[in-house]
Symmetry: C2
Amino acid sequence: MPDQMQHITLARRPNGAPTPDNFSLETAPVPTPGDGEVLVRVHYMSLDPYMRGRMDDAKSYASPVPIGGTMEGGGVGEVLTSNADGFAPGDMVFGMLGWATHAVADAKMLRKLDPNAGPVTAALGVLGMPGFTGWHGLMEHGRPKSGETLVVAAATGPVGSMVGQLAKSLGLRTVGIAGGADKCVLAKETFGFDACIDHRAHADAKPLRAALKDACPDGIDIYFENVGGKVLEAVMPLMNPHGRIPVCGMISWYNAGGLGAGADTPLSAPTLWRPILIKFLSVNGFIISNHWDRFPTFLAEVAPKVLSGDINVVEDIVEGLENAPTAFIGLLEGKNVGKQIVKLI
Amino acid sequence: MPDQMQHITLARRPNGAPTPDNFSLETAPVPTPGDGEVLVRVHYMSLDPYMRGRMDDAKSYASPVPIGGTMEGGGVGEVLTSNADGFAPGDMVFGMLGWATHAVADAKMLRKLDPNAGPVTAALGVLGMPGFTGWHGLMEHGRPKSGETLVVAAATGPVGSMVGQLAKSLGLRTVGIAGGADKCVLAKETFGFDACIDHRAHADAKPLRAALKDACPDGIDIYFENVGGKVLEAVMPLMNPHGRIPVCGMISWYNAGGLGAGADTPLSAPTLWRPILIKFLSVNGFIISNHWDRFPTFLAEVAPKVLSGDINVVEDIVEGLENAPTAFIGLLEGKNVGKQIVKLI
């Protein structure tokens, strides 16, 4: 067993979009697990948009990563040593292991994975936090009904692709928004979207709205919100009466700073607020970490569909911890195709 | 019976705040009721903020009043002649009778009032559309729980005073916002608010937020939204996790034009949208006209409380149809104290 590990810390807080010098690759002694803890060798770590929020010190639902602290994140890995009942060397687990090759974790915060239930990377995407986010938001706040129209952005990402595939299976018309023509092909061919709009082909909300209007001849009943910005601006006037907007993210505004100064959109507050009134909309923000009690239900419903191939999965895997910062910066720019994962071993 | 009546038409659409020349007082022959219709002599007519929306030709939940058309509105009056089963001369009724001394109405669209059940003007306020709006929005979308804190603006108006009194009776801390020190006294002494903030004493959202923070030491769980603007801007950062925002109006933006150009507030869309995500807020727009099926339940619950004096009522009554435009312009500026009514007879 090596006595040194690597991890990536937050070197300084970003001002706008993160750059490589916000991160620092460090070497440290492999820690020793205490009572009730296990030492895990991380095989795959997840990169997710929410991590951008943790880099700011703005008040949010979670504490920021301190300067010099290890970047947070979920990962799957193998137990090397265990001081906890129920975990043994060789077990594959999921946990918040950080941007690191090794981690000591409280066994109560780990979930043991069945390696025969499919690839372990699923625990980071389709059967992990992003897939769960899509399922919970759609079913709880989207209240989908057959024949309705759903719009979701980042349609080829792990949240959007889950939302689109579930909605399609429930009889909705699904319209994706993605960055690039290739992603739109993927959205339609792999994830079954009825239509997909390349937001990069539309400089601002107005032409994007025209394209959405063509793709949604009966209006929009559910807008699954994960981006904000010009997509939100384009969508709002097209919402149908009694429409629902689950809100799980606003990635386009993350780099505008924690308090969102309105960087990329001229959208005014009344323009955003008024449709809520005149269309009787239901807008519900949620953070999936408040809902882990429903995770077993999610797994029971969705895992069989992943194994059967009814729900498709696309992963974008880069190799090496040292490449995590660049991959994360790319994720915020939409460069990844599918769930962004870093392979460490 | 006179053969001439008076009514007020929309002479031209307003550009911003309405002015007297947007209205025209006209004389016309008293109409004759057809089959299933009755002729009503209007005794009292209601003035409500939503009427401002009907003066614009912007797309909304209801059609605009056409140029030259009679201004819409609810009224109570006496049946003069009836061609409909169930209605007889002398009956007191509520209906959408318009800004007019007389109206012919489809009997199916009228509600007969019991003159022994209290003053008929209650049908325009506390036991009519505004009171019903407050009750429905609070109970359905506010989901009040004892010990929570509720904030509502226009606290002495017919919606805000209903919301505040109901919430207080359910064990919530109630904090009103009103325009002027006198109204704040009324809010506390007559409507039982625990605290009331004079928004006119605070030039913009920042000092208003500081005052709200003092008045809401445990944060805000329910913000009953009827004003938008600087109040909304002040409130959003103070919302507690899992807070609820029923949205029934945004009067501060109405005069900014139908599409709300953001006249009175620098509030940006991300600043408005982000708390929905990070506080897991539930924001629900509603228009009470979609919910008349619940009106009997409302009346059964609330009418006894009005009769017993558990729910207090304040009305602001001006006399004469010709004074309706000025009273309406004043209403949009917050000059009324309590439910604004015009007495016609």
